[in-house]
Symmetry: D2
Subunit: 366 residues, 4 copies
């Protein structure tokens, strides 16, 4: 099946906007991503022992202490089946005050609890109250989920990486961090990222992809899932849930970010998902606030400053939908075949077949 | 440009489910649609005189008195820029008690008021309180909108048609009823409809399409808008807003219908919209309640009855997204070029070019 | 029963904050209130003729053109049974762009439509789209509601008054404007207002009171409704619904105003309402934005600037609850007994009995 | 100060409805409450060691396995500052599938995680996904909150008690369970409960009270907080947040329960709270579904079956507001003075003074 590449390396470019330098959420200045991946053992499930196919992803909104310098945030509960922590308070207060963590469902609460310890041991504050934001998708098809193998040390390490120059660099995709055991459209899913820039403004998306039915997969409109030739995916539930994180440097209000978050769902829809009943499809958005909306407006053609005083949001909406769509495709493109507990297997999306299907649809890739 | 046909007549079939007999919202038994179209005058805009390019669409949930036999309903305020009436109460009470009316923005309130009169004069009740549901999109590019040319008699006639065997038949699409002056993806838009059936359950969608940017138009994934060759659409705002109405006969609760309504947005997203800032993208859903969920479950494969007790909704979600997507395409396919006030012109989607673009993308249409 | 006075004239002072100069919503600089009252005819109901007991209230957020200088706004749909127009867009955009109108239920849509005309004829703009905010309660116990006697001329006059020095002065209470036929806690209700000031910041409330059961009425905690001696109120439904309008000059965001709006409900609860099933209890809040939050914070004791960065809101919450509570009591105190259609009668709250009951509860009034 | 009694033992009866046999949430058949209280150590705070003033409360909706027999539920996020887990999914799915746990803020996530273990070890299932509902208020004024002293064994024990005949009996109030270290209106707060019955239907409330300012406290309308003579409460924040749990046996839908939940806020308002900025005021409601709405309607006077088909809810609203109000007062009445970390002290509400103040207000208590 050859080397796994990002969508853009194969010539697939979603939408008309340009990606940032890294085509990653870390194109938003200050944002850092740290991922810790745990892969250990094989064979039959022994709860508490393994096989282990899990991990944790940390996203810091800036390199400082987010509890002291909270960032403006918002949430969209599109399909709110899921155990994420901290979301009602983000909606209520309009701010995020911790790193955003992504992991496997049943590990959610221990990860939230470990974030609390991190603040004491690394940020050197004793929080009287803190609102860890943890998102999750269910990796139980490959992982000993009940075993909750992500511990305090992994959480600490993920945040430490996110708070470093490495964390602000390129983001590993596929079977890494919280995305390690996940499934996307019946193929191996996981972590994916992408970004868009426009006149000095940047928006980045990072997804933990674990949703969708194979037949529904669309890549840039091409019905890849329907035409691919492969045996049906194992397991009665071919994956479920997706966490979508959006970061921008444009100083939007929480109300505006909430509307931007909804456009991630539009990007998701374009890849074929119907937002299934047992899927939890959440969007968490934040802004570092580095770029003022006024400066942004000055650089835009006049028509964008119209539109109810918020016409400039159209660019941001477009960036959110496109970057989310491309992040989902990147997750599929980079995730390699993985064998997990009880021999359960998820196959990586066969990129050679994707290229052939694109060819059939009049689109030559590299 | 030849005869205007529905998408399916050209060989475009959205998704894997079957449409109903009419491929229209009226496939849901008892649902009736009445449309009154007003086209009058040409030349420069004289407010209050014309040119008139407007109309009104009435959708009755059943052939009885909806105030006395209210239907379970729900609303999704995805992009809630717009003047629709009655929506907060539908969300609160979970029922709809009047016909659903669709018209031009500035005519919204007079249409709501006329619905009140209709109840006294035709349903023979003197309402002490009633909640007319009126949706709107802005037809001001072609129509003398401020003139508010839809009067009581047109509202009455539209409801009368909806309450008749004609109203329960095929639904006219394109430049009819409330959809008369509307724009879709820079082309002439208007009214469109479609439906899906599955084991005795039916879901229908009707849209009043007035949103989208030409370059963004996708038809079944094919980037038609980007490849079509035509001069840029006139008018700085190439249309905005869409009303999406969903009807089903499956006896869902209001909470379930609310989730179904969100899937219409996924159908919209697949046609290319980003849900622009000055667009109002609303979904109103109702059920006639004729088909019990229990009966439905008996006819389904076992896997559908799983999934948190609501696994069967996956079929309904799919029907909602697919029928909405196809209804949007039908509106574009059936709407003919129209010249309106001040000579403003919207061109019908050139179906021959659509066929060529599909051909280029490896998809031969008829 | 003697002269009708405001609660404070009898010595009832709600909460610990000071009212503004007028103890009215018009204490917020620039806010104007105009009320047109229609009282005509007696005897049996003849639909379309009378008896007429109705009116309309206009609240302008400032003396300029609100469409061009929109004000930040928010809405709380606590008990969303009701036909108000414009609320979803206020929630979505976070702004209000027209006067806020209050009237009788079935007149809602004609009032909204008349607001549109007002903009052309008085503000000299031809709106292509506008979002009139109209609130309503149901006056049908006394008024020929179906007759919809509030016409364009009354709407125009109410807004004209609101846009004048008279409109910025004291606000008439009781049987005036939209409040004319309304019922409160089984007594005659109607329009009421109150305000609070604190270190240069002002918040005002205006209510159109039409809700509550007599036995539940509490005045500053005293169970007046339970102890008053009067025959049971006529009519099976002793009134329902309340519109609560909050205005402030503090430059809050829409998200913050939304939280302030919820505190009006707490003020309502203290007067005894349970938010009944057929009651529509809505709050609409806006800010003129004249006073910056930063200036406000400088004048406050340090402890108020703490509290999640929004500690200062505690003062605003308190003002909102207290002013709403007192506005409700003022409506009851000022509304005189009224006889309406079919001889239906609502009695004014007997203030002498109120004083006696307060006395019994250890509280001597004047 | 004498023996601490419940409000009703002193003659304070909130509202006109009757309480159930126990005047507790456990009057709802099958509902069980288990509380584990941890009080250990004195003197200066040593994080991780103590002093310990904490605990955990478990509420089981029935004596079976709630994951397998989920109960219909709803949530009101009135003032959504707080770290509760599981609430978005309850809103989304309309069901609760675990015991509801109440504890100290920073212990929230470990309690949620322990609930997961309980299902494996006691209900004998291996959950692949589960949504523990944990509510919290902040006990840090008296407790070593960061120490997170509530462990798995305490969670297990609390649920075990709730699942027993003891758990279905009278509920201990005051300094017990999750309520152990809490503050209410500047006095010692904690756990409180009350119930209402009507023609075979029962509704119970249980609160974990930790909010309010002393001066604002009202007891049945009497301004006790303003008139009581005591030194000002220590600590700059005199307590914050309240969790309100409602249980009923009436088979309401999730949409209806959501409206019932809002009435708990009205009960809270009557005790004087303004819903402060750093307060988290949450309501979680569920129904055991034992009593059908149809049966209930048959036993009611006709006027209750009217009102939009939901007129019967008025009784349920009243029960929710009244039971919540009384539960809050019971928490204050039963909670004894407590000294905690660093000698911090909260004084129990002086009941003798309460009686005197009532006397002054014309109300003789026993």
């Amino acid at each position: 099946m050859g080397k796994r590449v990002r969508a853009r390396e194969l010539g697939i470019e979603i939408g008309e906007m340009e990606p940032g330098r890294l085509n990653a959420i870390t194109d938003v200045e200050g944002v850092g991503v740290g991922q810790v991946t745990l892969i250990r053992g094989d064979g039959p499930l022994k709860v508490g022992e393994g096989p282990v196919r899990t991990g944790v992803t940390a996203i810091v909104p800036h390199q400082g202490n987010p509890y002291e310098e909270k960032v403006t945030g918002a949430v969209d509960l599109f399909n709110a089946y899921g155990k994420s922590t901290g979301l009602p308070q983000v909606i209520h207060m309009g701010v995020i005050e911790t790193p955003i963590m992504l992991t496997d469902t049943l590990n959610t609460w221990l990860v939230a609890d470990a974030v609390l310890d991190y603040f004491r041991e690394h940020y050197d504050i004793l929080p009287l109250s803190i609102n860890p934001v943890v998102g999750e998708t269910n990796g139980g098809f490959l992982n000993d989920s009940f075993g909750r193998h992500v511990g305090k040390e992994h959480v600490f390490k993920a945040i430490d990486i996110a708070r470093s120059s490495k964390g602000m660099g390129p983001v590993e995709e596929g079977n890494v961090g919280g995305g390690t055991p996940m499934t996307g459209y019946g193929f191996k899913g996981g972590t994916g990222t992408s970004s868009r820039v426009y006149e000095g403004f940047t928006l980045g998306a990072l997804v933990q992809l674990n949703c969708g039915r194979r037949e529904d997969l669309r890549i840039d409109g091409v019905p890849v899932g329907r035409e691919i030739e492969m045996p049906s995916p194992e397991g009665r539930e071919p994956g479920n849930s997706i966490m979508m994180i959006l970061a921008t440097d444009l100083a939007l209000t929480s109300r505006q970010l909430g509307k931007v978050a909804k456009r991630a769902i539009m990007g998701l829809a374009r890849t074929g998902s119907y937002g299934g009943v047992s899927s939890g499809d959440f969007v968490i958005a934040f802004t570092t606030g580095r770029e003022s909306v006024d400066d942004f407006l000055e650089m835009m053609p006049e028509r964008y400053s119209r539109g109810l005083g918020e016409g400039f949001l159209n660019i941001v909406y477009r960036a959110a939908a496109d970057a989310t769509e491309e992040a989902i495709i990147n997750a599929l493109f980079k995730a390699e075949t993985m064998v997990g507990r009880d021999g359960n297997t998820r196959y990586g999306l066969p990129l050679d077949q994707v290229a052939e299907i694109f060819e059939k649809h009049g689109r030559s890739l590299y």
